[in-house]
């Protein structure tokens, strides 16, 4: 058909214009397809990451956080009553007494378990939740922060050196009282050496001025006699004062450098699962990606989160030694983000024993009998267990943060706008190019009118060319979009989603809060609808551009064209 051939000739012989238009439309369509694909990929990733509770058959989780008083839920039971004091008590085992790990120089491996700020409570108390109306099922779990420590017990030596100090003490002696003087005089007289027998040259000297020891004798023979009498008669207070002085108090202090040690600490989280209730709890068989779920009996079995297994090079069948007890890894799991997650899972009773926390749990999973009861059950639990923190699926989802959420928010907020902007830009470019082309083809289109082409035929020709370019642009755009989706899938850009459970207490630092991360590879899945949308967009772009050009061509009067010919 002549008109189709004319379109083909125009497209093939005006290559630059055609390529520009097709490339513009193609790029626009490819971007729209890619953005749509990314948006779908993010939606899928979000559904995986932000729907944490449905996978574990749970509507609500009940925990016990730190409170300012120690009343209410958990009070009086093992683990304390919810005050900061209880946080310290619950987490005492983390304070490492190095001497208990062995003798200095010995190699040690030990795992410490602590509940952090998600405090424990007796399982008997947690079990009361199941009796509330509207509760279809409930299960308890124990989620602990674990510190795996390995190294050599260090030797601590402190050396002190004392002595070599000189003390000088000055003391003023209290003069003899009259009674003491009298007693002294009497004693001296008794021993034949009185103050009255003083030598001649001393006569007339007032008696009262004869001081202590003042009765010096006449001549050397009497002096020796007097000294002996004086020594004998001297007051006991004056004879013994030399032995009663006190030395000043002194404190010795020395700073000790901490011992050098090679102790390596690896933190991880560990969860105790009530394996007798596989339909609800910390972990259900749905999360097992490899291997199997716990046996009902709950032996020395462990399930390990895929990401932790990858880091620690663990696989199904590996052994896990925890403080002398060997567990066998029976499966790998992919726990839902944002919920109560751990790196390692053990049967509840095994973990209680291992952590020396018998009969306690720190999370209750609750399933309501119907979705409309969730809100009522939440209120009832909060009323029954005062101070309990009750979280719904939405609360948990809201805690998820990270690049996944940022990207998802971005696409939700900007995705559609971006698509519209890109499509509009592509349409605009195609329209401008078509208008420009029509502008350059005034002579040609005027000639067509001169040789009898009706206005409808001329417009149809311009629109046909434009729509054909749109179809080509659509094909190119779809191709580019598919290639972009494949590249995105192959490159697998990762997005992270994080969720923190348990509060970060000043007492324990950030380690008390458990933060779970999930890394998701981003894909841009394409659907037939998206591809069809791309094609429709391109054709619509061509139509819009053609209509714009066609309108201009329609307004063209043959005489004007002829005048331009002149």
């Amino acid at each position: 058909m002549f008109y189709a051939r004319y379109v083909l000739r125009e497209l093939s012989r005006r290559r630059v214009r055609t390529l520009l238009t097709v490339a513009g439309l193609g790029l626009g369509v490819a971007l729209v397809i890619t953005i749509s694909g990314l948006s779908r990929g993010l939606d899928r990733a979000q559904r995986t990451a932000l729907d944490p509770l449905s996978g574990i058959g749970t509507d609500l989780t009940v925990t016990r956080g730190v409170q300012t008083d120690n009343k209410g839920f958990g009070g009086g039971g093992p683990g304390g009553g919810g005050s900061f004091r209880d946080v310290i008590q619950s987490n005492q085992s983390v304070l490492t007494d190095l001497s208990k790990l062995g003798k200095p120089g010995q190699h040690f491996v030990h795992d410490f378990f602590l509940p952090g700020t998600q405090l424990t409570f007796p399982t008997s108390q947690g079990a009361t939740v199941s009796k509330l109306s509207g509760v279809a099922a409930s299960a308890q779990g124990l989620l602990l922060i674990a510190e795996h420590q390995e190294g050599v017990v260090p030797k601590i030596v402190a050396k002190f050196k004392t002595g070599g100090q000189t003390f000088r003490v000055r003391r003023t002696i209290t003069p003899l009282t009259p009674a003491e003087q009298q007693a002294l005089q009497k004693c001296l007289e008794k021993n034949g050496a009185t103050f009255g027998q003083a030598p001649q040259q001393q006569q007339g000297r007032p008696q009262g001025q004869d001081g202590f020891g003042g009765g010096g004798g006449n001549g050397s023979g009497r002096r020796g006699f007097f000294r002996g009498a004086f020594q004998k008669c001297l007051s006991a207070r004056l004879r013994t004062f030399i032995g009663t002085f006190r030395t000043p108090q002194q404190t010795l202090q020395q700073v000790l450098d901490p011992p050098q040690t090679n102790i390596k600490t690896t933190p991880y989280t560990i969860g105790g699962v009530d394996q007798t209730q596989p339909g609800i709890g910390l972990l259900t068989p749905k999360q097992v990606t490899k291997g199997r779920y716990f046996s009902v009996a709950g032996g020395r079995e462990a399930l390990v989160a895929t990401s932790y297994a990858s880091r620690q090079k663990l696989k199904v069948g590996s052994s896990l030694d925890l403080n002398g007890t060997t567990f066998t890894v029976i499966g790998l799991v992919s726990p839902p983000l944002g919920g109560q997650t751990a790196d390692v899972y053990l049967p509840l009773k095994k973990l209680q024993a291992l952590a020396h926390q018998p009969g306690v749990a720190n999370v209750v999973f609750v399933r309501a009998d119907k979705s409309s009861s969730v809100s009522r059950v939440k209120s009832e639990i909060a009323q029954q267990l005062q101070g309990a923190q009750v979280a719904t699926a939405q609360d948990v989802a809201d805690r998820v943060t990270g690049s996944l959420v940022d990207a998802a928010n971005l696409t939700h907020n900007l995705g559609l706008v971006l698509e519209i902007i890109v499509a509009a830009a592509a349409f605009l470019m195609a329209a401008l190019l078509t208008l420009s082309s029509v502008g350059k083809r005034v002579r040609e289109l005027g000639t067509l009118k001169a040789i009898g082409w009706t206005q409808r035929l001329v417009v149809r020709q311009v629109v046909s060319e434009s729509v054909a370019q749109g179809a080509l642009g659509g094909a190119v755009g779809i191709l580019l979009g598919v290639v972009a989706a494949i590249i995105i899938g192959a490159a697998g850009p990762t997005l992270t989603a994080s969720s923190t459970t348990g509060s970060s207490s000043n007492l324990l630092g950030s380690a008390a809060a458990r933060t779970a991360h999930e890394t998701l590879s981003l894909h841009a899945p394409l659907s037939v609808l998206v591809v069809a949308l791309g094609l429709v967009l391109a054709l619509a772009g061509g139509l819009v551009a053609g209509a714009a050009g066609g309108l201009r061509a329609a307004r063209l009067r043959p005489a004007e064209a002829m005048r331009r010919v002149e």
Partner: protein, 230 residues
Amino acid sequence: MNEPLFELEGVSRFYRRGESIVRAVDGIDLTIGAGEFVALEGPSGSGKTTLLQLLGTLDRPDAGTIVFEGRPLHTLDDRALAGLRLNAFGFVFQQFNLIPTLTALENVQAALAPHGVRGHALDERAGALLEEVGLAARVDHLPTHLSGGEQQRVAIARALANEPRVILADEPTGNLDTKTGADVIDLLAGLGERHGTTIVVATHDATLAARAPRRVAMRDGAVVQPEMAV
């Protein structure tokens, strides 16, 4: 004179150029009979092309009436005028005005296609027309690969495609050398004779105009005596 084909009475066409008004065609009374070969002669700006456009319904007069085959053209709408151009007129332009992306054959087909001619018939008819103007060997060439004379021959073949009753040629030899120009005029004259087509040629070349049986001289938009046209 044969039966009148065109009857012009007081036909005027003005253009506004800035503040002034240019009277491109100014009150022309003219009658052209069917089958005539008429040369519109005059210098550039004398109004030849404007008159040709008015005759060919590419433009409408500001004053006066043009009657074609007994029908006043001012009573016809754009669609009817397009039909008239398709069925009754054939145009030949000074710059050939071929579609640059189409071959010689396809350029002729462009005038045949609106008639509903399709497929093999379309190829055959276009080929026959090109053969008639002596371009049988150049059918697949693009206009850029043809000489000026060849391009004008293609334009003439295109003008003949709908078997028009009138061929309106505006300076058909303007871009051609003297010999080729003379050949083109001969071709037009021959075709007119063979097909009984009325031919109106606008030219500023008095020598070429002299080859036409009837000369209409123009100056400043009006018809004048031939000796006054120069």
